[in-house]
């Protein structure tokens, strides 16, 4: 039993820290720290910065432009990026499609698509959920019917994150209505410029735009765009969901959020004294800090035993990680009292200075992060996964 990082791991941490210090602009870090929406240029800039260092797709094999990091190094990298308030990379190409192509793609698909993900030429988004297919994804209805060398796609996808910035979408489509529902699904790549596609933004609870609906009307897609065989999409979808689990607990992001909560509690006041000195509020912070400390250990335990990490382990991390993050967001909102209310705009943050700038979006972030326990397989679905493994039924 040795809970220390090795000297090599510590050296790696310093290398990452050093890189972040020199390559992450103060402007961008401040935007992330203050919880502001990042625009397309912000995200592309950071994508290019990481790519130039070769750290953009740590999970990919080296031959495709990845790193040879083990899970502990991935964890350190994530922790340092969160600490430095670096933007999160957009996962759809890097963590989802990339690994899928590496596993299931043709040589040609790998050779043409992977480099374009890294270079940023292609921005992928995800076409999984439908209005009638959320947790029950296998009930999806978007239809792809073979017509010569094409498929013709009709239907609707939803909750497509950052689709407004994307030029490509990977979709699960129904290619057969025979047999089991899962066996009639295929995984296909679609160019968003193709005629017949319409993307409409969905305004979220806090007022932001990050998800979209995508409508497909007689959209022609070449058969060569299918990944894997026809009707093996469910296998691919499951692989995709099971991939890139190391960061699922979000320990780094929660640690940074907690440290921001603490400094906010030292700044804002109740009855003339710093909120940090209020025993009721301090107790709530102490409790969530304990849960996070345990989570950090749980995460490291799971990482160090990745070989036997099964579905239920990442489900566990997902549930507890999201609950902890939401608890921190909740306290960060409440720390502001009445000053949490103003809708965060440039005026409110820059000119009116009602709440500390780094906290002005706390209410918006709280509302936005309610998504954490819903997306990526709702926490209830995660419980079902664990229960299935526990009871073998």
């Amino acid at each position: 039993m040795d809970l220390n990082f090795t000297p090599e791991e510590e050296a790696f941490r310093h290398e990452v820290r050093d890189f972040l210090r020199h390559n992450l602009s103060e402007e961008l870090a401040t935007k992330v720290r203050n919880g502001r929406d990042l625009n397309k240029t912000d995200l592309e800039t950071w994508h290019a910065t990481l790519n130039s260092r070769g750290w953009l797709a740590p999970g990919w094999p080296v031959e495709h432009g990845g790193t040879d990091w083990d899970s502990v190094r991935m964890h350190i990298f994530e922790e340092e990026c969160a600490r430095a308030n670096a933007p999160r990379t957009v996962p759809f190409g890097l963590s989802m499609l990339g690994p899928v192509l590496i596993k299931f793609g043709t040589e040609e698909q790998k050779a043409t698509i992977l480099p374009r993900i890294l270079s940023g030429e292609d921005w992928w988004c995800q076409g999984y959920s439908e209005p009638g297919a959320g947790s029950d994804l296998a009930s999806l209805k978007t239809r792809a019917i073979r017509d010569g060398d094409d498929y013709i796609i009709n239907g609707q996808k939803t909750w497509t994150t950052l689709g407004q910035f994307a030029n490509k979408i990977f979709c699960l489509v129904r290619t057969s209505t025979e047999g089991k529902r899962q066996e009639g699904i295929s995984f296909i790549l679609v160019d968003l410029d193709t005629p017949g596609i319409e993307m409409r933004p969905i305004k979220l609870i806090e007022g932001g735009f990050e998800v979209n609906e995508v409508f497909f009307t007689d959209v022609r897609v070449p058969v060569a765009n299918m990944v894997g065989e026809e009707n093996m999409g469910w296998t691919i979808a499951k692989y995709l969901l099971g991939h890139e689990r190391t960061n699922i607990a979000g320990v780094g992001a929660s640690s940074e959020a907690l440290s921001q909560l603490k400094s906010l509690a030292r700044k804002v006041k109740r009855k003339g004294k710093p909120l940090a000195q209020d025993p009721i509020f301090a107790a709530k912070i102490a409790e969530v800090e304990i849960d996070l400390e345990a989570m950090r250990m749980t995460n490291l335990r799971m990482l160090s035993g990745v070989a036997d990490a099964q579905g239920s382990v990442s489900s566990m991390l997902k549930i507890k990680g999201t609950v902890i993050r939401q608890a921190i967001n909740d306290l960060a909102r409440r720390a502001l009292g009445a000053t949490a209310a103003p809708f965060p705009s440039e005026d409110v943050i820059g000119n009116y200075a009602i709440a500390p700038a780094e906290a002005a979006s706390n209410a918006a972030n709280y509302f936005n992060n309610r998504k954490l326990s819903i997306f990526g397989g709702s926490n209830e679905i995660q419980r079902n996964i664990i229960a299935k493994e526990t009871f073998g039924a």
Binding site: M1, D2, F5, A286, I290
Partner: protein, 361 residues
């Protein structure tokens, strides 16, 4: 980063688990845990023969373990069997003897020839060392120590008392010289009131505050590990019961409401295991870091233990309420661990006092 136990610890853990499974089954445990002498002296001697007590003391002090992970290895197994032997009191006494160079005592305790414990709480102190009123005068002590774990069978009782200089001193009293009122605790195993009235004592230190804090933290880490062991067993019992119990024509394990509750408490057990490992790793750290980690751990253990105990009883239904069912004794132990060496709120107060939150903005 390596979470696998060392070969030595795995061997100690395995042999203790095997021994307790064979020699200390729940029926035997319940037979000895509630009636005088509230443990099984023969089994205690065998545990000593197995070297379990030696694992709680460092090599320098006459044992062959003594690190946080040695303590958790032993106590996790104690928890799996909810073993009623007076391990906690002896652990704290061994740590205190070690801190004061008492090699002779350590040797006899490790050999199983003598038992000892540590009395610090009083009926009005609720764990606050600053409120202790038992005091030394000359070579005698006067006062009353309450709920002294293992005090019912100890040969020697280490007593925290105000020294003549007004500090917190540490004194040894022979059980034969004190008035001992033994009893069973509600979750089994023995404790005692130790009444001292100008009782002859031997001073180990006039100022033992640091050593006492460390011994108590070692005890807290032990209790955390004991809880983890008990939770693991209670989880399996609950799972098995849900799969076997039929209602509405099918196993109740098929009901999602119950599945999700078992999942939720399983997650908390993993959290409890994690924070216990964390605290064990900090037992030899500087006192502030140690105290913070231990308080954090025992706070989480208190919350997780209550959740697991209450949910297990609830999901078992009526059978979980019976004395005959072993799960009820595990649930009781988990609840009552929170009452030992400071409860959830006590630990939270400690963690808050030691937190960096109070620093500058």
């Amino acid at each position: 980063m390596d979470f696998t136990p060392t070969e030595d610890r795995r061997m100690i853990g395995d042999s203790l688990r095997r021994y307790l499974a064979e020699q200390y089954p729940i029926e035997h445990r319940n037979k000895v845990a509630y009636d005088d002498p509230f443990h099984d002296p023969a089994k205690w001697a065998e545990l000593a023969e197995l070297g379990i007590l030696g694992a709680l003391v460092s090599e320098d002090d006459g044992g062959f373990g003594g690190a946080g992970f040695d303590i958790t290895t032993v106590f996790e197994e104690m928890g799996r069997a909810i073993c009623a032997e007076p391990m906690l009191g002896n652990l704290m006494a061994l740590r205190l003897y070690a801190a004061h160079g008492e090699a002779g005592r350590i040797e006899t305790i490790i050999a199983g020839a003598e038992k000892a414990t540590f009395g610090f709480d009083e009926s009005d102190t609720y764990g606050d060392l600053d409120s202790i009123t038992t005091s030394a005068s000359g070579d005698t002590l006067t006062g009353r120590k309450t709920v002294v774990y293992g005090g019912h069978c100890a040969d020697h009782i280490l007593v925290a008392a105000k020294s003549t200089a007004g500090k917190l001193g540490l004194y040894e009293v022979a059980a034969a010289d004190a008035e001992i009122l033994p009893y069973a605790m509600i979750d089994g195993a023995g404790a005692a009131e130790v009444i001292l009235d100008k009782t002859k004592s031997r001073c180990l230190s006039e100022d033992a505050r640091d050593a006492i804090e460390l011994a108590l933290d070692a005890g807290r880490v032990a209790l955390c590990a004991e809880a983890v062991g008990a939770m693991d067993v209670l989880k399996v019992m609950t799972k098995d019961y849900l799969m076997q119990r039929q209602q509405f024509g099918r196993p109740i394990a098929l009901f999602q409401a119950l599945q999700h509750r078992l999942v939720d408490f399983s997650i908390e057990i993993e959290q409890a295991r994690s924070i216990t490992i964390y605290a064990a790793s900090k037992l030899d750290a500087d006192p502030k870091a140690r105290a913070l980690a231990v308080a954090q751990a025992k706070n989480l253990i208190g919350r997780a233990g209550k959740l697991v105990a209450e949910e297990a009883v609830q999901m078992h239904g009526g059978i979980g309420m019976t004395w005959e069912y072993s799960g009820s004794h595990y649930a009781k132990r988990l609840i009552m661990i929170d009452h030992q060496l400071g409860d959830t709120e006590d630990q939270l107060r400690t963690a808050m006092a030691l937190s960096d939150l109070a620093g500058a903005a």
